[in-house]
């Protein structure tokens, strides 16, 4: 098996994980024995990733910076089979959710995770959550620096942070190392963007107070350029200001975005900088050797020189139209010629978005071993990524993914839908998401049609908490409950591409579940009729405004 090309746990990391498992085992024991009330226990189980949903407990497993070895993916498959129902759901925050975990089994499941250096620490609760990164990190052609180095530094700093384990609300950080943001950094509590300043130094732009949910807000820059070694000193300043002044009187106003909104970004900057001045030059400053030691573990794999143009690939392109489409939509430029980044679509026609069976996970792990340096990524768009595939291996990878049902040539297309678990699983939801995604997916199943429609992102949330990121969907769909009936509110024009992050506008009254597909069809038809050459759906919408789309959707009511 190939060696991993990302952070490898040492004895310190493993000791902490195993001690954490034992602490949780004792907490579960005390809960089952009645020594802890549910109110006392809930924050403890949440910070170990354990939720209570409608029908069962759900375990949310962190996949730090979305990077997995094949060995880890196989272990996830095994845990899903042994402690759950043999499938899992990859989420928009680079986590894996298992939906049918028993409380009594949870410590064993978490101990099994620790065997492959994985955990569920701080995947829920009012704490610093799993830091997410560009899923193409370390492989993308447009990358300035690998953001995962910094995610790992943050992972360690934030894990069981004594001061920040009871924050006003959850706290999510994302990092991108590319000008083309694939980590949605402007809609996180803190977004970090690595960039090179005119002096040639690489540092962070620090963006604060973004988020979706009930009150969607695009984050604001509070620091144009932060030297990399001051990252933790700065984050600690942001978190301290938030912990002290963030609202705790109203759960819906407790995120940092509300604090920033209420006191203003100038005041926020002032408070953070005042705190930062005190933190600077303390032990929070990162030692160059520490940075180097972690960076070196993310050193890219030594890829042998491979041909960028391969006769067999060109031939198959002509012969197999689906393969040609797949090359276009599901592979992306690698930093090295002769290689591509392949996205395995977890969105086959009619399937619940982001779900994979244990057998499918093992299948992807096998492909990664054979063709992608044993490495897999999880994208925030709920797909899996094979980051280092040689061009000449593309036909074999395509065939292998096809056997798994993961070769649908739809990445970035209308059926590459993001959806939260919705009312089928979730105790917070008002309406179902997955069945809506399935009916849209079935309706637009034709690949030729999807590629004609082009890039179009549909994002579906089953309630206002917006786990399905509907605010930033080109087409956003939000499930609401009206007197016990599921209705769906449609918005247009959201986006998360860097520099263009925008929130969608609601087009009109919510429609019934049976009319969602029809409405999407009307939106697409309007676009197809009115688009200019080469224009994406969202660009046509921006040019024309809401009227023609709205008119068409409601014409048939």
């Amino acid at each position: 098996m190939p060696d991993t090309h990302f952070y490898r746990y040492d004895d310190y990391d493993r000791t902490l994980l195993s001690e954490r498992v034992e602490q949780f085992r004792d907490q579960v024991r005390r809960r089952l024995a009645g020594e802890l009330t549910e109110e006392q226990f809930k924050p403890l189980r949440l910070t170990n990733g354990l939720y209570l949903q409608l029908h069962a407990y759900m375990l949310r497993i962190a996949i730090p910076y979305g990077t997995l070895s094949s060995r880890q993916l196989r272990k996830l498959a095994e845990i899903a089979r042994k402690y759950d129902r043999g499938y899992g759901h990859f989420t928009t925050r680079q986590n894996l959710q298992l939906n049918w975990i028993k409380l009594e089994d949870a410590p064993d499941a978490i101990a099994a995770l620790a065997e492959v250096d994985m955990h569920a620490i701080q995947t829920s609760g009012n704490v610093i959550r799993n830091t997410t990164a560009d899923h193409f990190a370390g492989a993308a052609a447009d990358e300035i620096e690998d953001p995962r180095v910094w995610c790992e530094i943050i992972r360690q700093w934030s894990t069981l942070h004594p001061e920040f384990s009871f924050l006003p609300r959850k706290f999510k950080i994302a990092i991108t190392g590319s000008p083309n943001d694939r980590a949605a950094v402007r809609v996180h509590d803190v977004g970090l963007r690595l960039w090179r300043n005119p002096e040639g130094q690489v540092g962070f732009e620090v963006i604060v107070g973004g988020g979706l949910g009930r009150t969607p807000i695009i984050g604001k820059t509070i620091r144009e350029f932060l030297p990399k070694d001051e990252l933790l000193a700065y984050l600690e300043a942001v978190l301290r200001v938030y912990n002290r002044y963030g609202r705790r009187d109203n759960i819906y106003k407790a995120r940092i975005k509300i604090l920033v909104h209420e006191i203003g970004v100038e005041k926020m900057r002032e408070e953070v900088e005042a705190e930062f001045v005190q933190n600077k030059d303390t032990s929070l400053r990162l030692d160059p050797q520490t940075i180097e030691a972690i960076s070196s573990q993310f050193a890219p794999p030594a890829l042998s020189h491979r041909s960028a143009v391969v006769g067999a690939v060109e031939a198959l392109k002509l012969e197999n139209r689906d393969f040609a489409l797949w090359l276009k939509s599901n592979t992306a430029p690698h930093r090295m010629a002769g290689y591509r980044i392949v996205t395995a679509s977890l969105k086959p026609a009619g399937a619940p978005p982001g779900d994979a069976s244990s057998a499918q996970m093992e299948g992807v792990a096998d492909i990664a071993d054979a063709y992608s340096q044993g490495e897999v990524r999880v994208s925030h768009e709920q797909n899996l990524v094979l980051p280092h595939v040689a061009v000449e291996d593309l036909p074999a990878v395509y065939a292998a993914l096809e056997r798994l049902g993961f070769a649908e040539a739809n990445v970035g297309k209308i059926t590459d839908i993001i959806a939260c678990p919705g009312l089928d699983y979730c105790a917070l939801a008002n309406a179902r998401s997955i069945p809506v995604a399935q009916s849209i997916s079935n309706h637009f199943a034709s690949l030729a049609k999807q590629h004609d429609i082009g890039d179009l992102k549909i994002k579906i949330s089953g309630c206002i908490n917006a786990c399905g990121h509907h605010h930033v969907g080109h087409i956003g769909i939000l499930g609401v409950d009206k007197n016990g009936v599921e209705l769906y509110q449609i918005s247009l024009g959201g986006d998360v591409d860097f520099g263009k992050t925008s929130l969608g506008d609601i087009i009109g009254p919510a429609v019934g579940a049976d009319r969602v597909v029809e409405a999407v069809d009307a939106l697409v038809a309007t676009y197809l009729e009115r688009r200019d050459e080469g224009e994406r759906f969202v660009d046509t919408y921006r040019r024309l405004g809401v009227e023609p789309f709205k008119e068409r959707v409601y014409a048939t009511v």
Partner: protein, 156 residues
């Protein structure tokens, strides 16, 4: 409420001489002991660090974590060395965090709190970040280990 300190599994008697006053009262006539609300600012205490022997910080609910930041600022920034007491909704599962933020006495009604306090420092032998205790984070230990290895190699 029963008061605990490390070194005793049973609750200990509170020192009646050190009854903490709410900040507003204390400011009128500073004594050796003050009780802060978790929204109080710390500046007024700045010049009294030598006088103060007890500062009590409050957890109105155990999920309200503001007092952790107050504790860290008192210990690490203002250099407070006296007793730092956690009061209110204080539960044993907070102890690893409380100890690391510099608390050293605890009022709690929870059964089993004393034995839990006795074990609290043994739960985690590794920490990842520096705080207001004197524990070295893993990154620092790794650095020392690397340097020691490099020195040993150089000496060979």
């Amino acid at each position: 409420m029963p008061l605990y300190k490390e070194g005793s599994i049973a609750p200990i008697a509170a020192d009646d001489q050190l009854a903490p006053l709410p900040l507003a009262d204390w400011l009128k006539a500073p004594t050796q002991a003050v009780m802060l609300a978790n929204t109080d600012v710390l500046d007024p205490l700045k010049n009294h660090m030598g006088r103060l022997k007890l500062i009590a910080l409050q957890f109105p609910k155990y999920t309200d974590g503001r007092a952790y930041s107050q504790a860290r600022l008192l210990r690490s920034r203002l250099g407070y060395r006296g007793e730092l007491r956690a009061t209110g909704d204080v539960l044993r599962d907070q102890l690893p965090f409380l100890l690391r933020c510099g608390f050293d006495s605890f009022e709690s009604n929870q059964a089993g709190f004393g034995p839990a306090l006795a074990r609290a420092r043994t739960l985690f032998s590794v920490v990842y970040q520096s705080s207001s205790d004197d524990r070295a984070p893993a990154a620092l230990l790794r650095l020392k280990l690397r340097n020691a290895t490099a020195e040993a190699l150089a000496a060979d």
